[in-house]
Each structure stands twice: as C-alpha cells, then as structure tokens.
Symmetry: C2
Subunit: 195 residues, 2 copies
C-alpha cells in the first residue's frame, strides 16, 4: 500500500506560511503522497507547493480542508490508520515494526500540529508517536518519521515527470533540465557543469 | 569529541523567525551543542531558544555572530570540520562513515542556509552533503543528518538540569516537574496522570 497523507492542522496565515510549506515539501521529498492543510485557508502555501511539484515532479497532492474532523472521520471510515506526531507520544522505535506492518495494508494519515493540538486528536489517533520527547519541530519530526518508516526513501526517490533534477556534486550546484541540457538555476556557483 | 555546532546563515527578521527557531530546537533535541545564528540580529529568536533551554535543560549554547565568514575561518583554524547541508551535495549515506570518523576526533560545524547560500560556503565547506536531492527544508535536513550521524541520539538524549520532562504516553500529555510532582502544562488533555 505505502500511501501516506500528511494532515497539517491549525495553519495560521501570517505566522505559519514557511513552516507549513516546509512540512509540505518534506512530505513530498520523503515519500508521502500528499498533504492536506487545515486551519486558515492560504492560497500562497498551496500555490507554492504546487509550483514545486510542477517543476520537480509528482504526483503529490496538495489541498485544503476546512473540516479536519470530518476529514479524519472519513479517512478512518475508509480504513486509514491515523498517526499523530507529538513529543508526548510513544517513541517511534517502540512502534516502528507495528507501523510498517500497518502501512503494508492500509493507508496512513500522519497528523502534525502547529502550536496547540486539540485533545481529541490524541484520542482519534490510532497511535501518538514521538520523535524524542523534547520540544523541536513538526518538520523535523515528520522528516525522521518518514525517513525511518520508509527506510531512507528520501535518498532513492525520483519523480518521473520532473522538469529539473539535481546531479549530486561535492562542490557545486549541478541542475539538469529534462532534456538534459544544463541549467544554471542559480548563478552563485556559476560554473555549473555542462553535461 | 562529538561536539557539533550548527551555523544558521542569512536569518531574516520577519520571515525566518519560526524556521530559525525550529532549526535551533532541532539542533538541541538531536544532540548538537549549540547554534550560532548569522544574518539579521534577532533577539526574539535567541530569547526563545534560551527560554526552552532553561526549562527543558541544557547545556545548549545560543548566540549571534555578525561575521559568519570570520566565524568559519576561526573554527577551521581551530580544527573544526565544516559540513554544509545542501540539496546539491553528496548523499549522506555515501559520506556517513567518513563523517563519523571525523566526529570522533574533531569538532564539527554544520551549516544550514536560508534561501540563497553564497557560493563561497560550498567552497569553504569540507563536505557538501545532501539529504535527498529534492527541495525540502533545512529543518528536515538537519534532523535527518543528526539522527543518522548520532545514531538516534534524539531518542536517548536527556538534560540533567531540566525543570520539566515528558513521560511518553500512548494517549495523553504527561509532563513532570523536576521534583516529580505532576504538571499539567497544557490544559487540553486535562487528566494528566499524577505520578
């Protein structure tokens, strides 16, 4: 199955744009199928994630839902397993094997909050899972969760319809356009290789 | 040795507060010794990271440097090894064993940028390292880098002078004050256990 959707709760315009964008980009790069954003409706964030997907490839679904309770209820009714990432939950290593078994058979929704997460999220979740029990970041938590659950997929993932891709280099930025002509996307290291 | 300092480049007031705070919190929770912030001077971010360290424990050094070039030059002169995290660099798995050997003997400075990173950073770094070659987040990159380099220290770390700590729980927030009387830090799950 291996289909994972990230649910971002309580997005606030003017405060969370960049963090929510980072949550979305992390979801995509680490192997989730899409992100559902709740809280304030924010076209800027949705457009920015959509633009990245158009350029760097997909599929990666980005959408807004006003009613996250309804969304979670429907997802559970359709068989999804809900993981809530929280510093108060059980350490990922204790539940990782179980989550891998679940993911082989069911869709997974991974919930990440912003500041305060309503109590009912803890109750509706099938698992409350922590990446350490210190305060840090929902972006960090999501990255490590997906890295470990999907066994480093971030290092192998590719997007077939990408218009550009990076060629890893020890010293410089090397970016290729789809037709394999070189693109100096950023002028700062201006001696990008012509491949 | 195992001493890692994160250098956050090009912080911008009004745009990067939350992401830079997440970088700092991630550095602390995942086992770095401190963060050095460059770019705009921003007392709010420094105070917020300092407050977290006072409550949740340290040591974790937080400071601002105006001259990041001078900081990197001094660090290298004192023997530090500089890793620049960038989506254009070599995949972490290819260099991980080498970085572990380095860390056993030398201090490490891990550089994370904001939007555009000056070319000289690529050149002054001893290693340009990627956590995947897709655009995502410096917070995600730092988390996975430290998680893998320090072999999951985030799940074992403890801070001896912490005033509060979390007791992992499958369903609720359980927070203890240092004297082991229960603290309902957040009222939402209000039935925190009395331990």
């Amino acid at each position: 199955m291996r289909r994972i959707t990230v649910l971002r709760l309580s997005h606030r315009v003017g405060r969370d744009e960049r963090v929510t964008t980072h949550v979305g980009l992390t979801a995509r790069a680490f192997g989730a199928s899409g992100i559902v954003i709740s809280g304030d409706e924010d076209r800027g964030v949705i457009e920015s994630l959509t633009r990245v997907t158009e350029l760097w490839g997909g599929p990666f679904e980005v959408r807004y839902v006003r009613d996250w309770r309804g969304y979670l209820r429907s997802a559970k009714a359709a068989g999804a397993y809900v993981v809530h990432l929280t510093m108060y939950g059980l350490p990922l290593p204790e539940v990782l094997e179980e989550l891998r078994r679940v993911l082989a058979e069911r869709e997974m929704v991974v919930v990440v909050g912003s500041s305060k997460v309503p109590r009912e999220v803890y109750e509706v979740a099938d698992a409350n899972v922590s990446i350490g029990n210190q305060p840090h970041s929902e972006v960090a938590a999501l990255a490590v969760f997906l890295d470990r659950l999907l066994d480093g997929l971030v290092f192998r993932i590719s997007f077939s319809d990408a218009k550009v891709r990076v060629v890893p280099d020890p010293r410089r930025k090397v970016v290729l356009r789809r037709r394999e002509t070189a693109l100096a996307e950023d002028p700062s290291p201006s001696d990008d290789k012509l491949l």
